[in-house]
């Protein structure tokens, strides 16, 4: 990535990024442009460079921040009406780490409100358009971030991935997108969707950039008790020999161009001396159902705090306390938020907990075990990210289940806590990008990123 130095100033990099952001305004990528703040920071970095002072590893690198990361620059809305006007007094740990290395946030990017969705159509600010076809969706929920990188506005963008929200939009827009191992990057200061599956990750143009960002952002955080030790730095690179493909994902619901792309990459790997292993993972069939029980439950719980009392939007109809709650929440949430909250409350409610939530938590065990078994037979797994390339705007908005099926191949990783990296794998006849995902065991992130270089021809 381009880093500021004596020849290229941070101000130049930031101005270029801001110009491009404005040029591509009709894609509806940003919910906030950080013009003043970004330029001020750029000048500070340039002054340091001019004075010969030490600057960070990401000095002057313009980046886009998904609008569910809290920081005092711009309101943190998570593209939700109910968080309108929420100027955060705190800074997410991930943002703090990036900025400490000199990265400069030029804007906040659009998402499905509270990251609920696979198309960025559930945003209070309207959909973001696909980088390759404006009639198609950007994918989601981190649609804005994916398109910001794909259109080369920024060098990288942050994302969150609860069930595919980084990997799927990365594949729809032809960029790299990593969902790290659960617990690798602190969730402190990131608007929670589902605590047990939420992961912070990045969109980049190269595996090398991804490695750099991971080494900056990973690590234990006393403000998030579910962060792992700083294993990323010390990871020994694994020598991969066998690559698995999942038999159950070779079915009719998967677009034939995607199947073709997968086959092509397997041929490439074979030609490089790798062994391709076919894996049977029957429990994955149930991953999506388990996911759409566990995640809505955690969503319903995590979104209980949005009530109009302490921050964000408060309904004008708040005559008494009951109305304050119910009117604020009714007006403040998008329909998809409401669906997930109500499903979550259904699966947790008295009489249904055992049949749904507990059952799903047990199914999750089988899924975790299935990955463990798979990684005894192979080093990494290569699969499609989503069954299809970017679909048309509005195509699935009236059918929530059809939208959920988009996530069938991405959610199992979140349930198991294993890392997955979307790699660009060509385009279909319509010029739409195709992505594949490379999956590794927990804590294999560094090897996974390194290995992805083998997949480029």
């Amino acid at each position: 990535m381009k880093i500021a130095n004596r020849k290229v100033t941070a101000e130049r990099l930031v101005r270029d990024a801001l110009d491009k952001a404005k040029h591509f305004a009709d894609y509806n990528i940003f919910t906030f442009l950080n013009e003043e703040g970004a330029l001020k920071k750029a000048r500070e970095i340039d002054a340091k460079i001019a004075a010969g002072e030490k600057v960070g590893r990401l000095a002057g690198v313009p980046y886009a921040l998904k609008d569910n990361f809290m920081s005092p620059e711009g309101d943190t809305t998570a593209s939700a009406h109910i968080l309108e006007g929420c100027a955060s007094p705190i800074t997410a740990t991930a943002v703090e780490k990036l900025e400490a290395e000199g990265a400069i946030m030029i804007g906040r990017t659009n998402l499905d409100a509270f990251a609920h969705g696979s198309s960025t159509e559930n945003s209070y600010f309207g959909p973001t358009l696909n980088a390759y076809d404006q009639s198609r969706v950007a994918g989601g929920s981190s649609g804005g971030s994916a398109v910001a990188v794909a259109l080369d506005i920024v060098e990288f963008a942050t994302g969150t991935d609860t069930g595919g929200s980084i990997r799927q939009p990365a594949s729809f827009n032809g960029v790299y997108g990593l969902k790290p191992t659960y617990g690798c990057i602190s969730r402190y200061g990131v608007v929670a969707m589902a605590s047990s599956t939420d992961c912070i990750g990045f969109f980049t143009k190269t595996p090398g950039d991804m490695d750099l960002l991971m080494s900056v952002a990973n690590g234990k955080d006393s403000k998030d008790l579910t962060t792992l030790d700083n294993y990323y730095h010390d990871s020994k690179l694994k020598k991969a020999k066998r690559i698995g493909v999942i038999k159950e994902f070779d079915n009719d619901s998967v677009d034939k161009n995607i199947k073709k792309a997968l086959k092509k990459k397997c041929e490439l790997l074979k030609s490089k001396g790798y062994e391709i292993v076919e894996l049977e993972m029957p429990a994955l069939k149930y991953a999506l159902a388990a996911y759409y029980i566990i995640v809505p439950a955690e969503v319903a719980s995590n979104l209980s705090r949005y009530d109009g009392v302490r921050y964000g939007f408060r309904s004008k109809k708040s005559e008494d306390l009951d109305a304050l709650y119910s009117e604020t929440r009714s007006e403040g949430f998008m329909p998809e938020n409401k669906r997930r909250i109500m499903i979550g409350n259904f699966v947790l409610s008295s009489g249904f907990y055992d049949a749904y939530f507990l059952k799903a938590a047990k199914a999750r065990t089988l899924i975790v075990e299935e990955y463990a078994k798979a990684f005894e037979k192979c080093d990494f797994i290569l699969t499609p990210v989503a069954p299809n390339p970017a679909f048309k705007l509005g195509e699935k908005t009236n059918d929530p289940v059809a939208m959920y099926l988009e996530d069938a191949m991405s959610v199992p990783l979140n349930l198991a806590g294993v890392p997955g990296l979307t790699i660009p794998a060509g385009k279909n006849a319509d010029g739409l990008p195709i992505g594949l995902q490379l999956i590794g065991p927990r804590r294999s992130d560094k090897s996974l990123i390194e290995f992805s270089k083998e997949l480029t021809e």
Binding site: P89, T197, S326, R329, F333, R339, G417, R442
Partner: protein
């Protein structure tokens, strides 16, 4: 299972939503098809399987009992509410 209108109203109550009739109808249909989809877990045999709530191998993660400075002050926090009075958050009366 079949989701009736009163089930939707009960879930709306648990979720603290006041839904319009149109919403009750449209959400009702959506919820019915989602519940039908997730109910396919019924076919999975989970006998003698322990549940997994977290995919995080750590335990006993806790902190020392020491007062530390916080990331935001009372003033910064109260500035976020629609209305504060006497350093407290003001809410409409409880019926």
């Amino acid at each position: 299972m079949e989701i009736k209108r009163e089930d939707i109203l009960h879930l709306a109550d648990l979720s603290n939503f006041s839904l319009s009739d149109a919403e009750v109808k449209s959400l009702g249909g959506d919820l019915q098809s989602i519940i039908k989809y997730i109910s396919q877990l019924d076919e999975l045999d989970t006998e003698n399987v322990e549940p997994t709530y977290q995919v995080f191998e750590m335990e006993n993660v806790w902190r020392a009992d020491e007062i530390l400075p916080q990331d935001a002050s009372r003033e910064e926090l109260l500035a976020l509410t629609v209305e504060a009075k006497d350093n407290q958050i003001k809410v409409p009366k409880v019926l």
